[in-house]
């Protein structure tokens, strides 16, 4: 089956520092694929390369086997590649619904319209509402984002990405900073992501990784150390040594 997302020898060098080097990945449609690795392994750089926020020094990115390496980030979003951020990157002064409408209006091609009153964007509101319901945020439409609990703000991150109607969703440490008490809602949200959407997530929280990932790639010093099913990764002594810690 044609992979939904594929990279071939992807690398990024900052001067003499090789942040990511020779990364080749292939994610099947609907896959749940985790990328783990110690701090500084190049996980977020990899996400930035996939989304086009960084230009690669080498290698290529393919979406449904279409080469998207030279495309701008917004063009990749239009091709179905959306992301969340490791540190909340939201619109703190807007309400949840206002934020969602920003995403939905662009996704549906009405955000360029300078004459249409925003109050007439009913279809976009309906689409936004459906996503908020999926993430159990449907009571928070009118809440100002900055006033939401941190866990809910992380959910808004995911909701915004889903409003882009992605075929491939990149989650950059979705559980980062979420208190244990709020993590159940996040787990529920990740479990409830549409099955047709391919999900690549970078995560430190091994609970999430081993609960949701079907395959895991271990990144160390910018290069792939190993890749496999979660049970294989858990047993791999090299992974234990470099990432989980050896005794």
């Amino acid at each position: 089956m044609m992979p939904a997302l594929r990279t071939s020898g992807l690398g990024k060098h900052f001067g003499g520092v090789r942040a990511v080097t020779g990364v080749s990945l292939a994610l099947a449609r609907g896959a749940r694929h985790a990328v783990i690795g110690p701090n500084g392994a190049g996980k977020t750089t990899l996400i930035n390369l996939l989304t086009g926020m960084l230009a690669p020094s080498e290698g290529d990115v393919y979406l449904d086997e279409d080469r998207v390496t030279g495309l701008r980030p917004d063009q990749r979003v239009k091709r179905g590649l959306a992301r969340t951020f490791q540190i909340n990157n939201l619109f703190p002064d807007l309400t949840v619904m206002q934020s969602m409408l920003l995403a939905a209006c662009e996704q549906r091609g009405v955000a360029i319209d300078p004459w249409r009153p925003v109050s007439s964007c009913r279809d976009e509101m309906t689409a936004a509402h459906a996503i908020l319901r999926l993430l159990h945020l449907d009571g928070a439409e009118d809440a100002v984002v900055r006033q939401l609990p941190y866990g809910d703000q992380r959910l808004v991150e995911i909701a915004l990405a889903l409003a882009c109607k992605p075929r491939v969703l990149l989650l950059d440490e979705p559980a980062a900073g979420v208190p244990k008490a709020e993590s159940q809602a996040l787990f529920r949200a990740i479990a409830g992501l549409p099955e047709g959407v391919t999900v690549l997530f970078v995560e430190h929280d091994m609970d999430i990784v081993f609960r949701f990932a079907q395959r895991i790639t271990v990144l160390v010093s910018g290069a792939i150390l190993t890749e496999g099913a979660p049970e294989d990764i858990a047993r791999d002594p090299t992974v234990k040594q470099v990432y989980l810690g050896s005794r």
Binding site: M53, D74, R83, F91, L94, A103, A111, V118
Partner: protein, 331 residues
Amino acid sequence: MSIAAPARTWAGRFPWEESAFWLLLAAGFWLWPKHLALASQVLIAGLFALSYDLILGYAGILSLGHAAYYGLGAYAAGLLATHRWGEPLSGLLAGACCAGLAGFLTSFLVVRGQDLTRLMVTSAIGLLLFELANRMANITGGVDGLSGMEMAPLLGAFRFDIYGRTAYGYCLIVTFVVFLGVRRMVHSPFGWSLRGMRDNPSRMLALGYPVQRRLIAVYTVSAAIAGVAGALLAQTTQFVSIDVFSFSRSADVMVMLIVGGAGVLYGGLVGAAVFTLAYHYLSALNPVYWQFWLGAFLIAIVLFGRGGVLGAFERISRYLRERRRAPAAQP
């Protein structure tokens, strides 16, 4: 579920306060009949500040060279009028087109960088045009300015009179029409996206917005509106000074917007009124040191009036509303 809450300014309705504001301006023919020329200057400055509000208040583009487009609009309309094309509306259109085209061409330079780069690039554009106008004195009149314009009657019926009645009506109608267009735009999905790009451009990129292209679009529109303001100035005063391109003109419009309140539509109009009237009356009191009081006022705005005059006004209104509500809530 409401899209208007809590940011009231996102709503698209036209409340009575706004109607009252424009009716007051329309009543200017009777309320300040001897000061119509000054009132026209206020409206022109307000329109210029409105154009600047689009890029600074809504899209977050800091500029110190917006006078470039104001000046281009003024010279375009002025040159047409000196070459026997004194029809006002087509002159206005020519001013808008020239300034809009220049805005579009220069926007590629402006939107590339961030705040400091943008300040440098925009002020450089202003300085370049100033010196160009100075150098091409055979066309622009150089430091002597452009004079000898002959304006045709507005709509073939209303002559520009010495009391400034036609000029005031003309400025008021043009300002109102442009304001309605801008108002419609900022309450559209496009207008919302401008705020998004101002507040968080990286997230907007991640939502699929071609941020630079949208900024180019709004910069071009803003330049065209600045051109309309410049053209109005040329047509109503029948003179264009090279000063329309000056750095201080660009700085003044920024001060007007900060004084009035950025990103709230009326901030530019209110700031222009405060600034122009302060200039007029304070400089009459003391032509040398009048800017001392303007400086003091600006410091007061920064310290106590975040959001400018309109921001302070809104806070005072909210305070009074809450005070009124407080005794009623007590048993």
